[in-house]
Each structure stands twice: as C-alpha cells, then as structure tokens.
C-alpha cells in the first residue's frame, strides 16, 4: 500500500477538498482508504458522507491530579513544572488541566506522594464507509484536551488495520493546518506528500514552512496550486519555487463558486460538478506514474 499525505501549512487552502476529490477519483480504479488526521476539527467524513460503524474512545493523554489530604503545601511541584500548569494556591497547589502535559515531574518531586498521574480519555476514533463505498477513519480530539500528536498516531494505527481488512492499495491522509505535532505525526512514515497552496503571500509563506518540514523527513513531494487564477504572478513565483526545490506541480485548480457550493452540499467537487474530474484524473495519473 502507498500512503499519501495532504498538507498545506496555511489553513483553508483546500486540503479536505483535494483529499475528498482525490479519494473519489482514485477509488474508481484502486482500492482506497481515507484517513482524517485533522483531529482538532475533522471534516473529511462530513464531505464523504461517512456512515459510522465503529466508535472508540481512546486515552493517549495523561494529567496530574492532587490528592488533597496527602498534600502538605510545600509547593515543590510548582517550581518543577515547566509548563506553568501548577500555581501556588492559598494553602495548596492549584493544577491547571489545560496546561498540564502529564509529564510526571511533579509526581516525582512530591515528597508526600500526593500527586497522581492518571490517563484521560481525550479523543474519539471512528470507522465507517463513505457514501461512495470506500472506508474512512477519523479522529476527534475532545474539548480542551491535549495530545493531538498521539491521537493522530492512534488514528493511523486504526487506519492501517482498516486498510489491511479492505486490502487497500492507496491511503490518503488529510492533515491539520499548521506544522506542529499533529501534522508531524501525520507526515511521518508516508510515501508521498501533496502540498496544497494558494497564491497569497500567506499561502506562499506557509507553503515554504511546510516544505521545510517535508524536507526534514526526506519525503518526496508534489504541489497543487488551488485558486491559481486569483493572482497569476504569485502562482508563477510558487511554481518557480517548486522547480528550484525539485517539486513537481501536479495540478492547478481555478477559483470558482462551485467549490463553495460543493462544500455547502457536502460533496467532493468532482461529484458536484463533472467538469473538475479531468483535473483530478490528471493529478491521480501523475501520482500513479511516480509510484511506478
């Protein structure tokens, strides 16, 4: 199986639109599986009309809890916490669960054994079939919880199993915006990265940062320029940048209201309007030939 990751750095450049359209296009010739690793705000399942068949709560996060009756208020824990998650209270330390990383330093330093590190249920993983038949696995972080990177790793582990069960040939991973832990966990150990950019100063700047990340992991990479016609000069600059980096331009997508309408109707744009199929068929062909 080949694993393709879709990323962009900047949010809203069209990662989910590309993921869903590419999945649909490739599913006509190959056995595919879609993985939504944007666990902060998972949208891929929505656009593919996934009927969830399995739902599992996972615990990949840990937090520190104070055992009040054992605490003598020495505040050693406050000094040792490098995440500013413990503050001096009136008599006892106050733990901020949003900042706590569950590292256990406070537990180690507490002379009274008054701190306990407990695992926390921090996410849901769902499995199901899209309305187009192929399987989709998604993760969703619970509100205010942490550990996105570890959730992504767990989502991918589930994805691997589902892929095996379905004898999938291609896995497409939709990443979150940005370049921090959830994205790093999505990019790691993939065969090919597709960067989705747009010709705006922010889109270009964030593309450069995303590409640096891909180079860091030494993964081959292709580029799709979305809304290429809103600033053709910048599109040319982005294409020159890609050339310098040895990144092939897989496709250009125009700006059109159809894309918003497709989103409102919760459909991949290639299903919503047939005229966009050719763009994605060409992109798919380029990727197949790269794999060969």
């Amino acid at each position: 199986m080949r694993v393709i990751n879709i990323l962009s750095g900047k949010g809203g450049t069209g990662k989910t639109m590309v993921s869903s359209s590419l999945l649909w296009t490739m599913s006509r010739k190959k056995r595919v599986v879609g993985i939504d690793c944007d666990v902060d705000a998972a949208n891929l399942g929505m656009v593919l009309g996934v009927k969830i068949t399995r739902r599992k709560e996972i615990e990949t996060s840990e937090k520190a809890f104070l055992i009040e009756e054992k605490c003598t208020g020495c505040f050693k824990c406050v000094d040792v916490c490098n995440f500013s998650a413990i503050e001096k209270g009136d008599k006892k330390p106050v733990f901020n669960r949003f900042l706590c990383e569950g590292c256990g330093s406070c537990e180690l330093v507490c002379p009274e054994n008054a701190i306990e590190i407990k695992t926390v249920k921090n996410a849901w993983i769902t499995e199901g079939a899209s309305r187009y038949g192929f399987p989709v696995v998604s993760g969703q972080l619970k509100m205010g919880e942490s550990g996105s990177g570890k959730i992504v790793t767990e989502v991918r582990r589930t994805g691997e199993r589902v892929a095996k069960e379905n004898k999938s040939e291609i896995m497409i991973i939709d990443s979150a915006a940005g370049i921090s832990c959830p994205v790093i966990a999505s990019v790691r150990n993939t065969d090919y990265v597709i960067a989705v950019s747009e010709p705006t100063p922010s889109g270009f700047n964030d593309l450069k940062r995303a590409i640096k990340l891909v180079e860091f992991f030494k993964i081959p990479c292709g580029l799709i320029i979305n809304k290429f016609d809103i600033n053709k000069e910048l599109t040319r600059k982005i294409e020159n940048f890609a050339k310098e980096k040895g990144i092939s331009v897989l496709g250009r997508i125009p700006y059109h209201k159809d894309f918003v309408d497709a989103a409102v109707n919760l459909k991949p744009v290639v299903v919503y309007k047939k005229k966009y199929r050719e763009i994605f068929e060409n992109i798919a062909e380029k990727i197949y030939s790269w794999f060969e």
Binding site: G9, K10, G11, G12, T13, T16, D38, D40, A41, N43, M46, V47, E62, V80, N82, F83, S84, F98, L99, E101, G102, C103, G104, S105, L108, V109, L141, M143, G144, S146, S148, G149, A176, A177, G178, I179, S180, C181, P182, I184, P199, T200, P201, S202, N205, D206, R209, K212, L213, F216, I230, N231, L234, K257, V260, A263, V264, L266
Partner: protein, 276 residues
C-alpha cells in the same frame, strides 16, 4: 482589552480580521497585535510590517554525563515522550526532537548523571507599522509543541508591557495546545467563520472550547454572501452567541490581502462599533 481572534477552521479570515481590527484600534489608542499563530505567522506579511528578531526561545533539554551513568534505564522509564531510548547494558540514547523539556529524567536519575541544557524552539519578532506594535512568535520547523512557544511570547509581552490599551491576539486554526495557550487570559474571543458546513462544525468546536475555558465569545461571518448563512445563525441561537459582524466576499479585500496592506472596509468599523 485583550481580544482573541480565533475560529476553529483554517482559512476563514482570522488574520485579515486581526490585522484590520488592530489597524482601526491603533488610530485612536495604543494597540498591540500579537501573532500567536506560531506555526505559520503571517500578520506581518498582511500588513507589510518589517519585523526584527528580539529574542530566541529556548526549551530545557537534558544533558547526560555518562561518567556518572550506571545504565539503570530510569530516565527512559519516566520519559512519557519516548525521547530516551534505553537498551539493557548500553547508555541511554536521547532524541532531542521528541523532548518537551519536562525535566522528569533529570529529577528521576538516581546518580545525578543528568543536568539541564537548552535547545532553541522558536523566535520572537517585533515590528511597528500603521501606529501599532506587532509581536509575533515563530516556531522552529520540526519542533512539535506550539504551546510553549506561544507561552514564551506571552511572557515576553508581559515583561515588556508598554501600557497597551488594546491587545489583539491572532490564534492558529484548530483547538490544540497552541490555540488554548493563546486563548488563556483573553477577555473576549471573536470567532471568525464561513457559512459552510465545515465552518459551522468547527465553530461549534471552538465555542465548546471557549465555554470550557470560560471566555465570552462573539461570531463574525466572513464571506457571508457565499454559502448558507442560516447554518451559522442556527449555531448563534444554539450557543446564545451574538453575530457581531458579516464581511461579504469582495475583490477589494482579496486585493488588499495579496498586496500586503490592511483591509479597510466599513464592515470592520461596524464590528468595532458593536464591540464598544
């Protein structure tokens, strides 16, 4: 007032709204724009403000003194990030990229063979333009945690406090640690969304988060004339959260954005009027 601009979904226009609001506010009062989208900071590009680096951000990492190490493997056992690999009979191997600097290994080591050193995780930039101050944080590429970088920028601003009347905080997309750290301490959060099912879905997530954090929220609909506005109006009712502004899709906004000048539209002034 300390106002965060957030929204859940990426690309809804958080940075455009942040920069435009800071631009309007700075006409009358001392205003700071904090770009806390440390993974991909762009506010300086949107405003064409030249930034200068004022500080490097460091995180503590362990330093091993193998002459004191007895190869017990305790450091590896306490490390929750799998940043220390231990194989029986060998010295522990440290993977700096995985380390979040919690210091547990140093505390746990029975022979005091681990001390602390530092690695660079980000940079802080400062710039001035249109009468406002801009501080932005930038995470080192390949580093995992946005939260500590965000906190370091907040700490820097606190220490160099220049008597700002308003602080506008631009957050990243999503609801992860970098966003939570940026939101904490804000008195109000403006959630910029778009009238699509994705915008709606991610808006609910961020409103839930703000509720948990106890931060009051208001909604701004960007590109309000394309898509289905009712989706957002329903959420506004469900969460009893007011929609204080609608910004239509306009070529003039896109042009300003791609030219690197602040967006000056009457809709932004209207938002400020409502806020007052």
């Amino acid at each position: 007032m300390r106002i965060a601009v957030t929204g859940g979904k990426g690309g809804t226009g958080k940075s455009i709204v942040s920069t435009a609001l800071a631009f309007e506010l700075s006409k009358k009062q001392k205003t700071l724009l904090m770009d806390l989208d440390v993974e991909c900071p762009n506010d300086h590009l949107i405003l064409s403000i030249k930034r200068e680096k004022v500080k490097d951000i460091f995180q503590k990492i362990p330093k091993f003194d193998f002459s004191k190490c007895v190869k017990c493997g305790t450091c590896s056992k306490v490390c929750k990030e799998n940043a220390i690999v231990f194989i029986e009979g060998q010295y522990p191997r440290f993977i700096p990229e995985q380390c979040t600097g919690c210091n547990a290994c140093c505390i746990a080591c029975p022979t005091k063979a681990i001390s602390q050193t530092e690695k660079k995780i980000g940079e802080i930039y400062y710039g001035k333009g249109y009468g406002m101050d801009l501080v932005s944080g930038e995470m080192v590429i390949g580093y995992e945690e946005a939260g500590p970088v965000v906190n370091a920028v907040k700490e820097y601003v606190k220490k160099t406090e220049k008597g700002y009347k308003h602080i506008i905080i631009d957050t990243s997309a999503g609801t992860h640690c970098g966003v939570i750290s940026a939101l904490m301490g804000c008195e109000l959060a403006l959630c910029v969304t778009e009238p699509t099912p994705f915008g709606k879905h991610d808006l609910e997530l961020i409103l839930d988060l703000l509720n948990v954090l106890g931060i009051p929220a208001k909604i701004i609909i960007n590109r309000s004339d394309i898509g289905d506005k009712k989706l957002i109006e329903r959420i506004s009712k469900k969460y009893k959260t007011e929609i204080i502004g609608e910004i239509p899709y306009k070529k003039s906004i896109l042009d300003a954005y791609s030219k690197g000048v602040p967006v000056k539209e009457k809709e932004i002034e209207n938002i400020l009027r409502v806020l007052k």
